[in-house]
Symmetry: C2
């Protein structure tokens, strides 16, 4: 592995494969422009290009990142003396942003063609208004364009802030609010341009409130801001073993794509089709850059992803779900992250001491990961109430607890889902743990989507704005 790190050139096979993939994608892209600019096909082609560009750039830039001080050591390996490039999520984010900016014209291709050719012969006398405004503007779906641009601004903001975090190693309590700043453009443009703050009430509540829609007003913005803060952070704290940040993000993205597809392949045109197309346009290139990153970050990792990737991934999900009006669906897909966050609360809020790193402990003798622990000194025992709760959690197998002969707590496992999984399933190798958590995330997510589409009709008269669930 070590010499693989040193080499920054692509192997012959890699060059051929990436080159071929890029060529096919470019050819497909050109074809869509010859036809009617089918945006979904174009998005797929650009996602392929995004994969190839990210794959190659991560390899090439490794030593440059290390030289610039963006580096770290892998604590869960036997031979961990050499540095790996850190913050490679920034490469993903920047490739992604470039690709999504290039993609902007495609969803509007038809509108542009209509506007330029439908606007009449260019040789007739043009009045001043036409000259000043160019094409006939009232035909153009501006609100769609504004969503697009606001999504890009939010994603660029989180990238800038994420890079700042990776560079300056901001303290935990401060960085928690980084996504709040990045949510500002999204909220402001939502306010300026959409302003839908009503939610559909469950049927059983409707008789009491007297209507079907309830206007949350300013509270809706608080809800969105909280969501913007939660999603990126929740992905950022489910981290610490090779590949886990990327695989969980890929699973969530794939499930969102699956959910979007449900709306596209309906026998009749679904009213939410546009929202879900929008979502696909943002998720497909995300999958492209993420798979490329996963290749380099999978066990044994040759690069680290950095906070930038986690924030960025979380923000992609927030952006598509808020602008596509399916934020409740995203919540169902984030259940493992929500569990991990709630489970972490005792340490995050200082009820239980929180070490700098809570990643699972690497046992160099066995080569396996074990739950990492927080030690309790004899004279620094937890408050009796907390001790009681710790014992209770331990009884329900939600914690590993070690006592000395006098009943004093010696150590407790750290409060993360990764450690808890190791408590349940015993020590295992790093990649095994990543696979198991990813499978769990997939199953929970699929169950969430099942609940969303099958059981939602029990409490909502309509499946959001349509009368029957898709498929």
């Amino acid at each position: 592995m070590a010499n693989q790190v040193a080499s920054t050139a692509l192997s012959r096979t890699e060059s051929i494969n990436l080159g071929a993939l890029s060529l096919v994608c470019v050819a497909v892209l050109v074809r869509t422009l010859e036809g009617d600019g089918e945006p979904l096909i174009a998005s797929l082609a650009l996602s392929g290009l995004a994969f190839a560009a990210t794959y190659a750039t991560i390899r090439w830039l490794g030593p440059t990142f290390i030289k610039a001080g963006l580096k770290g050591r892998d604590l869960s390996k036997v031979n961990n003396t050499h540095y790996l490039p850190e913050c490679m999520g920034a490469v993903c984010a920047i490739v992604y942003l470039l690709i999504i900016i290039i993609f902007i014209p495609f969803p509007f291709y038809k509108d542009i063609v209509v506007a330029t050719s439908g606007g009449g012969n260019r040789d007739v006398v043009m009045n001043v208004e036409f000259v000043e405004k160019g094409r006939l503007l009232h035909k153009f779906p501006h609100s769609k364009l504004a969503s697009f641009l606001s999504a890009i601004i939010s994603l660029q903001s989180i990238t800038l802030l994420g890079i700042g975090d990776d560079l300056f190693d901001i303290r935990w309590r401060h960085k928690f609010f980084i996504p709040a700043f990045a949510s500002i453009p999204l909220l402001i443009i939502y306010f300026v341009d959409f302003g839908v703050t009503s939610i559909v009430l469950p049927t059983f509540l409707q008789p009491y409130v007297g209507r079907e829609l309830f206007d949350l007003g300013a509270l809706y913005y608080v809800y969105m801001a909280a969501f913007c803060i939660f999603s990126p952070n929740s992905i950022n704290i489910l981290a610490g073993i090779n590949g886990i940040e990327v695989t969980q993000s890929i699973v969530i993205a794939l499930l969102l794509v699956f959910n979007d597809a449900l709306y596209l392949f309906t026998p009749y045109p679904h009213p939410a089709t546009d929202s879900h197309l929008f979502s696909l346009f943002f998720l497909l290139p995300f999958l492209g850059v993420s798979f490329a990153l996963l290749y380099h970050n999978w066990y044994p990792a040759r690069v680290f992803v950095g906070d930038t990737y986690c924030y960025f991934a979380g923000m992609v999900f927030v952006v598509v779900s808020i602008l596509g009006h399916f934020s409740k669906t995203l919540i169902l897909l984030l259940i493992p992250q929500i569990f991990n966050f709630v489970y972490s609360v005792p340490q995050l809020f200082g009820l239980v001491p929180c070490p700098r790193h809570r990643l699972p402990h690497f046992n160099a003798r066995t080569g396996l990961l074990e739950p990492s622990v927080t030690k309790w000194e004899k004279e620094k025992q937890p408050h009796p109430i907390i001790a009681k709760v710790l014992h209770l959690l331990s009884q329900f197998k939600l914690l590993r607890l070690k006592q000395d002969e006098d009943g004093r707590i010696e150590e407790t496992s750290n409060f993360t889902i990764l450690n808890l999984w190791l408590v349940w399933r015993g020590p295992m190798r790093e990649d095994r743990l990543a696979i198991e958590i990813t499978v769990m995330q997939t199953l929970v997510g699929l169950f969430g989507l099942f609940v969303r589409h099958r059981l939602a009709l029990l409490i909502f008269r309509e499946d959001n704005l349509s009368y029957s669930s898709a498929v």
Copy 2:
């Protein structure tokens, strides 16, 4: 100075002044919201806040930047052993972006109020379309919003790329194209949403072409891209002494503000008022962050600005002038930069050897700056044609040239406007040079504006789209 660098706390006076300024600005901002949200006043207030935030943040973050490896030594000082924080332009850019994002609702305040209160009583039955789209969308000036958002995306892109440049120290030949990437969003949104590619022909050409407007088509995009590449780079290469990057940018911004003001204070509403208001909204906060940076970067500098600032400044000018349709005016204000670029060409393109740094030479004995030179080895004399040109330039006082007794060229001054100025005016202290160049930039710019507004009528029938020049 050395202990001033170490202290990151604001002095008592600074705290009071910045606090008072911020309070006043917040008060003004709140007042505008109570009234009809007068956007120009709000922009001024936010620019004050931008100044205060940048001033304080640059002070606070100094050691953090140095620790992250963003540091450099000041070569033009006697005691140059300690490091100063580098890349502080990134702070400016990020504060600026945050402020401009917060500003988004203000220019649309009236439209939002109209849309929400003019949309009828909320208690009447709402049809599905209203619920789905929120407010009445067709009343909203979407094209204005799209300009705003595309400008922000371009500025965010250049910031991301600029930070990458400062971090990884990209080679000159590569970084020249960094602004090209940042121009993509601007061009694409221009294409999607405006598409005006016609230019007004000078009157003397009109009889031959047979019309007043000439459609450049795709060439217009090439022109815009070239402009996006040129402006940031031209500011980036007029650099090397304390404060010069910031003062030249401030002068250009002030002259653009002056030009905008000419359109606002006309006795009748000028058709280009909106474009120039747009320009002011982007320039005022830029002035806010730039003055704060100048305070820290002025001789003797306590921080360096980094490439990020130069790119960012150049892009602000491009964005306002392209979206405001006055790019020709900007060219008039960039004359010293254009001269510097053209003058640099022999070194940039390798006709004359180009050392890594071409900043003026600091004479530690006198404490003054002198022109820095390129040495010519005896056996590595220039090509006869180039030697001829060098002698010619020297005769016209456009170069300092030193020969040995055999007529061989020993050394020539480096091809930058700063060195040339020192050739003309003799050795001087660093701040004196910065002041003189800034005064020159101001005078040339004022002359450019005079030409623009007084003499343009000789070759254009109308002053752009209006019938008489402003003022």
